[in-house]
């Protein structure tokens, strides 16, 4: 592999001690150790992300166990085809992300960059669909808490316990937090794309691509559960 020299491999000048690739931080012995630390950190972070979302899933299951009829009735107001379309977008973006990481792995930076752009495009498409869905909910007053139907018919007078505002509260918190993750993911993908274009990655060093990929797959993973639970209650 030594013939596949990295762009940064010769940037040792000025370090004042032994040679090492530019991508290797001083506090690591070798690239494997650096990569291992970075990926372990990422998996730990993903673990905390799962724990955070698990609280919301638990809230959902609790609401559903207490007010099954209400959840059943009001999930009909979510457009399941919009949800299915978004599932399609996210799963496809996960594929392109995985292929982008693979391309970086085998040193095809150009292909990797293109696949990252496709991933970003699918992420944006997801957010556009989400925007359309949210707009429809706002318009019809399908909102959490006090805001439910407020500007449509002067607010909710009764049925506070187990009312539909609970369902839309859970809906907006879960899809909202997920949407924030999609937006952050898009931002990270842009950053990785720019770095890829600058030739920062090679077959020896592509850990950031891989870690952003892990984050993006996690976003997909959460949606895989959100979609049937919110849109397909039956």
């Amino acid at each position: 592999m030594s013939t596949a020299v990295d762009a940064g491999q010769h940037a040792e000048a000025g370090h004042g001690h032994d040679a090492h690739p530019a991508y290797l931080q001083h506090h690591f012995d070798n690239p494997q150790q650096q990569e291992g630390a970075a990926k372990l950190g990422m998996w730990l972070f993903l673990g905390t992300e799962l724990l955070m979302f698990s609280g919301l899933f638990l809230a959902y299951f609790y609401m559903r166990s207490q007010y099954p009829e209400m959840v059943h009735e009001y999930h009909e107001y979510l457009n399941k085809w919009m949800g299915a379309l978004n599932t399609l977008f996210l799963i496809t973006s996960s594929l392109t992300m995985a292929l982008a990481v693979r391309s970086a792995q085998v040193g095809k930076a150009k292909l990797s960059g293109r696949l990252l752009l496709v991933t970003i495009a699918f992420g944006l498409a997801f957010m556009v669909v989400k925007y359309l869905e949210y707009s429809a909910k706002f318009e019809h007053g399908l909102l959490p808490g006090d805001a439910f139907a407020e500007h449509v018919a002067g607010g909710v007078q009764a049925g506070w316990y187990g009312g539909p505002q609970l369902f839309f509260g859970i809906y907006f918190i879960m899809t909202g937090l997920h949407g924030v993750h999609v937006l952050i993911g898009i931002g990270l993908l842009v950053w990785i794309y720019v770095k890829t274009q600058r030739g920062a990655f090679s077959g020896n060093y592509y850990t950031p691509v891989e870690n952003v990929g892990l984050y993006w797959h996690l976003v997909d993973l959460i949606w895989i559960f959100l979609f049937p639970l919110l849109y397909l209650v039956k």
């Binding site: 030594s2 491999q9 032994d18 040679a19 090492h20 690739p21 290797l24 012995d29 070798n30 690239p31 494997q32 291992g36 990926k39 372990l40 998996w43 730990l44 993903l46 673990g47 724990l51 698990s54 609280g55 638990l58 166990s65 009735e73 107001y77 399941k80 799963i91 996960s94 594929l95 995985a98 292929l99 693979r102 019809h140 007053g141 808490g145 006090d146 439910f148 139907a149 449509v152 018919a153 909710v156 007078q157 009764a158 049925g159 506070w160 187990g162 009312g163 539909p164 020896n204 797959h217 996690l218 997909d220 993973l221 895989i224 559960f225 979609f227 049937p228 397909l232 209650v233 039956k234």
Partner: protein, 188 residues
């Protein structure tokens, strides 16, 4: 070539990293499986399986997750310690869910013993009539929202107008001393 270190000692060849590269076909196969399972999820929801629907949907979602985590996230070929972190997380999520569900499913029993009406009525458990104010009970039966063109249906009618926790709190009437439940939110 550049020299590196292993545990502080100089060593040759340490900059070489060896990664498992999955073939593109494998990724496409996983993608295909995910698409089929997504279609299956939608189909199942159309079939009106009743109480089994949630379980089926969750099993399908779990299989999809296994594909994403195992292949897209590469956990199958990754350091086993990463699997340990991941499954450790799942274990704690499991404990979190289990404890909460034990609480939810035994609450009715406890509340019945304590004479807490608000929770027990929700679960349809027979209890002796509780002193609950009736003054604002009529309000509970009003439809929540009259929406034009039927976009948003009115809130589901409360089955039992006898005990409206919301009305209870509005009246500010003292609840039975034995009632351990926190004051319900009125939301107003």
């Amino acid at each position: 070539m550049a020299k590196g270190y292993i545990r502080g000692r100089e060593a040759a060849g340490v900059h070489e990293t060896h990664h498992h590269v999955m073939p593109v076909k494998a990724y496409l196969g996983v993608f295909g499986a995910l698409m089929v399972l997504t279609a299956l999820t939608v189909l199942v929801s159309e079939m009106n399986l009743g109480s089994a629907a949630l379980a089926v949907a969750m099993v399908v979602a779990a299989i999809k997750s296994a594909f994403v985590i195992g292949f897209f996230m590469h956990l199958k070929y990754d350091t086993r310690f990463h699997s340990f972190v991941f499954f450790g997380t799942l274990l704690f999520i499991g404990i979190f869910f289990l404890m909460t569900f034990i609480d939810i499913n035994t609450r009715a029993l406890v509340n019945k013993d304590w004479g807490n009406t608000a929770w027990v009525l929700d679960r349809g458990v027979e209890i002796p009539p509780a002193p609950v104010p009736h003054e604002e009970g009529g309000e509970a039966h009003e439809p929540s929202a009259e929406v034009k063109d039927g976009e948003a249906a009115p809130a589901p009618e409360v089955k039992d107008g006898e005990a409206k926790p919301a009305a209870e709190a509005k009246d500010g009437e003292a609840k039975p001393a034995a009632d351990p439940a926190p004051a319900p939110e009125t939301g107003r």
